[in-house]
Amino acid sequence: MGRVEIRSVSKLFGEVRAVDHVDLATDEGEFLVLLGPSGCGKTTLLRMIAGIETPTSGDLVIDGRVVTDMPPRMRNIAMVFQSYALYPHMTVYKNIAFPLRARGIDEGTVRKKVEWAAGMFKIGRLLDRKPRELSGGERQRVALARAMVREPSVFLLDEPLSNLDALLRTSAREELRQFQRRVGVTTIYVTHDQVEAMGLGDRIAVMSQGKVRQIGTPLDIYQWPADTFVATFVGSPPMNLIEQEDVLLGFRPETFRPSDAVEGSEGMVTFPFEVTYLEYLGAERLVYGNVGEKSHARHIVSRLPGSLTLPLESGKTYPFAVARRDLRRFHRKSGLAFSGETA
């Protein structure tokens, strides 16, 4: 149980096409991340799966049942909002019990299930508190417990970590991943944070302007971006792009190194790299510069491990090289990767 199919779904807000003919299907028990910049339609798509928005066209299927026109409560999905949307006038216990009571489940069972869910998220001691008395991390756990308590077939998460501070976010991410593995419920997770996406997703669907640009494993997305949007959106710093006639050559900053530091020159492509600016970040060093006048982006970046102490100065030009197998080629006009070159 827990297979979501999105069949050519579109959503228009007035003239604006928020979601544009999206086709997507999850596997059972999969952790699928919808990744994209704000306004790309990822949240709208999630809300349509939840039933809060109705698609303008297309169909949504959950476990073989067309749910396009069904109200949310009939879809057997759970959702955690970015704000957590805890009921402010209810205690934690009542919050978690709410989905069960709304379904008319008897109080004995409710109590057992609430205690089970609270135990799972280690919030048993908070049950009598009101949401305003909780910390951000605690609220997030309550929201998760409330979502899981009725054992939904699909679990939807809308940027649930974005309200946590950086330190908490990392540990919460790890917990979330472990928890999802354990219960094995199909999860769709929306985020604009590529680090979250890479760390959490079994697969990532990268969205832009209402369309899914690419869907694949984190490795696929990173190594074989389907187009220049994915190439530059995923990865920090983004993939370097160089124009060569009607082709755009792309390569990741960490694959672009001083020729002196590369052993042998077989299968390497060398560029004269004029360094304009250096950033030393401890574990790594970022070197910004240009390769001739043909550079597509303003800057080309090289990302060198901090252990590589080769002296570099801004204003000077050095030979830099990238392995041929690390080069990606995109059509200049469409921005699409050359077919046969994606994984």
Partner: protein, 280 residues
Amino acid sequence: MANLGKIARRGGLYTLLGAFAFFSAFPFYWMVIATFKRDHDLFSPLNNPFIFNESPTLDHLRLLFFETHFVGYLLNTLLVGLAVVIITLVTAVPAAYALARWARGWGETLGIGIFLTYLVPPTILFIPLSRFASFFGLQESLWSLILVYPTFTIPFCTWLLMGFFKTIPKDIEEQAMIDGLSRFGAMSRVVLPLAISGVLTVVVFAFTLSMHEFIYALTFISVSAKKTVSIGVPTELVRGDVFQWGPLMAGALIASIPVAVVYTYFLDRFVAGFTMGAVK
């Protein structure tokens, strides 16, 4: 020296506030004095009018409660007020919710349209409405007031509640729908309990406005026993040309103070309505 300046400013502030409070409250002090003053004391032009020159009396209160319809006025007012509150809640709460939540664009326009009808004054409507009342045989009936008063409570309360509903995050009710409630259930079981202070404000507002109303009551009701407090006291406690000042002041005072206390408590919320969210 700075200290002295501070004291002077402090003194100035209290003087100013004292003057305003005196101006605002003096008529009510005047009612208190008249309520308990013996007629002989009250009607002697040479007596100091601000103090009791003779011992206070409860005669006026006795007269007011036992020899006039004053208690009846209070009951009529209560009855009309409660009925108006119910009608207002039943119409304004759902409308405000729907306008605040669902209607992108036209909801705002319709909301403003409804609010503007609040500015159509009773002084334009009371002539045609008096014909309505007589057409439906409601002349001299409290029902005419019960049906007409919502014309000013619904527009304002709808507007007021729209503001309240907008402050409740949409997430919460979307969450409630996902958690198993219908669209309507999310409103009635999650949003309404959260908007309870807004609903309470509307209850108080609808009631006080009904109690304050004068023109319709004056136009529709002339039978003494059917009058509400706001017209009963000023029009009935006069024998021929002679005002019965003692009972009159007592009646005005007794009807004023409780409602003023409650109203003051809720005042800031009404003002939020007047300023149409202009003050954040």
